[in-house]
């Protein structure tokens, strides 16, 4: 498979994956681009992998986790934004309509990534562990902790909504 063929077939999937882990459309495109750039540079190696798409997804996930570790990740940009160049924030619609999506924002980056890989990408624990470089037991523990946090946070949102 040539690089262009891969991007045509899977590029949009990567942007979607970037959006589910980051919750930010602009960041999702950046993550997809970073992953594709790195894959392009070593495409011979990537195409020989058993699952090239898993290989590129691993690049994207690791790029996201690296990004969240940087100090600048939590800083707010202070520059003026040109409204003509902004993209629609689709996350806003989801946040407004889905309390679970809001609750996901309360998780740590790793917890959210594990949930995305398991419930959106449908990867098994062993593969998730391989992508993240951790043990399968750590994956299970992280999922359990994340689900507990989600349940608790979601419940509090619903109580707040009833009270308001």
């Amino acid at each position: 498979m040539e690089f262009e063929e891969y991007v045509a077939a899977r590029g949009q999937d990567l942007v979607r994956l970037g959006f589910t882990v980051s919750g930010d459309y602009q960041r999702a495109e950046d993550l997809a681009q970073i992953a594709l750039m790195q894959a392009f540079r070593s495409w011979r190696k990537v195409r020989k992998a058993d699952d090239p798409h898993l290989y590129v997804r691993r690049i994207l996930i690791n790029a996201y986790l690296s990004m969240t570790r940087r100090r600048s990740f939590t800083e707010s940009p202070s520059a003026e934004i040109d409204p003509r160049s902004t993209v629609p924030d689709h996350a806003t619609d989801i946040v407004n309509s889905d309390d679970l999506w809001r609750a996901l924002a309360e998780l740590s980056a790793r917890e959210r990534v594990v949930l995305v890989l398991r419930y959106y990408q449908d990867l098994d624990d062993r593969t998730i562990a391989d992508v993240l470089g951790i043990k399968p037991s750590s994956v299970r523990a992280t999922v359990s902790r994340a689900l507990a946090t989600l349940r608790k946070t979601r419940r509090s949102y619903r109580v707040d909504e009833r009270l308001s």
């Binding site: 949009q12 997809a32 959106y120």
Partner: protein
């Protein structure tokens, strides 16, 4: 709510979120252009680093060579000694031993004029020198220090008048010498060349 319900809700939420993502355009072009730019940047940085390393190596080699080779200190004025630009053994009693014939001497124009005796200088390994100014025998002692430092004493000799070659004046004023296989040069305190000799045999 059971875990299964929550998991089902999660699947639905992720699917809806993913479906809401607008179609990204030019992903291929952006990825390939970005990768090529990054690669060019890497090449430029690598090239600059290589040039810097090479420069440091050249400078280091030059400095190292300057310390380890017996190059003479720079000499001001005309006729810089050739030994300063070529690697030669440092001047020593061994390297100057032999017979030398003058070919150039500051202020002297008639070195090739016929004389009763051959106006040569002879340096011996025992630290003495001898020779002739053309009509008087000459003798004395000499020492050679580090970096070609030179000093000579002039012994008693006749002063028969002829077209005398002033070896004694050269030896008395010389503070440094430079030697290669066929040339012996004397330099004064100010670094100027006083005389140049070639090996006679």
């Amino acid at each position: 709510m059971s875990n299964t319900d929550l998991e089902d809700d999660l699947r639905g939420t992720f699917d809806r979120a993913a479906a809401s993502v607008p179609l990204a355009t030019d992903l291929t072009e952006r990825a390939t252009t970005g990768a090529r730019k990054a690669q060019r940047r890497t090449w430029v940085i690598s090239g600059a680093a290589a040039v810097a390393v090479a420069s440091v190596a050249v400078v280091g080699f030059s400095l190292g060579g300057g310390r380890s080779s017996p190059v003479q200190p720079p000499v001001a004025g005309v006729n810089t000694p050739t030994a300063s630009t070529t690697v030669q053994p440092p001047p020593s009693v061994a390297t100057v031993s032999g017979t030398w014939r003058p070919v150039q001497m500051a202020g002297v124009k008639s070195l090739k004029a016929p004389r009763s005796e051959d106006p040569v200088l002879v340096f011996r390994p025992d630290g003495t020198w001898g020779g002739s100014d053309g009509c008087n025998g000459l003798q004395g002692t000499y020492t050679i220090g580090q970096r070609g430092a030179f000093a000579a004493t002039i012994g008693p000799h006749h002063l028969i008048g002829c077209d005398n070659v002033p070896h004694t004046g050269v030896l008395r004023a010389a503070k440094r010498i430079a030697v290669d296989s066929s040339t012996l040069q004397f330099f004064g305190a100010d670094g100027r060349q006083l005389a140049k000799y070639t090996r006679a045999r």
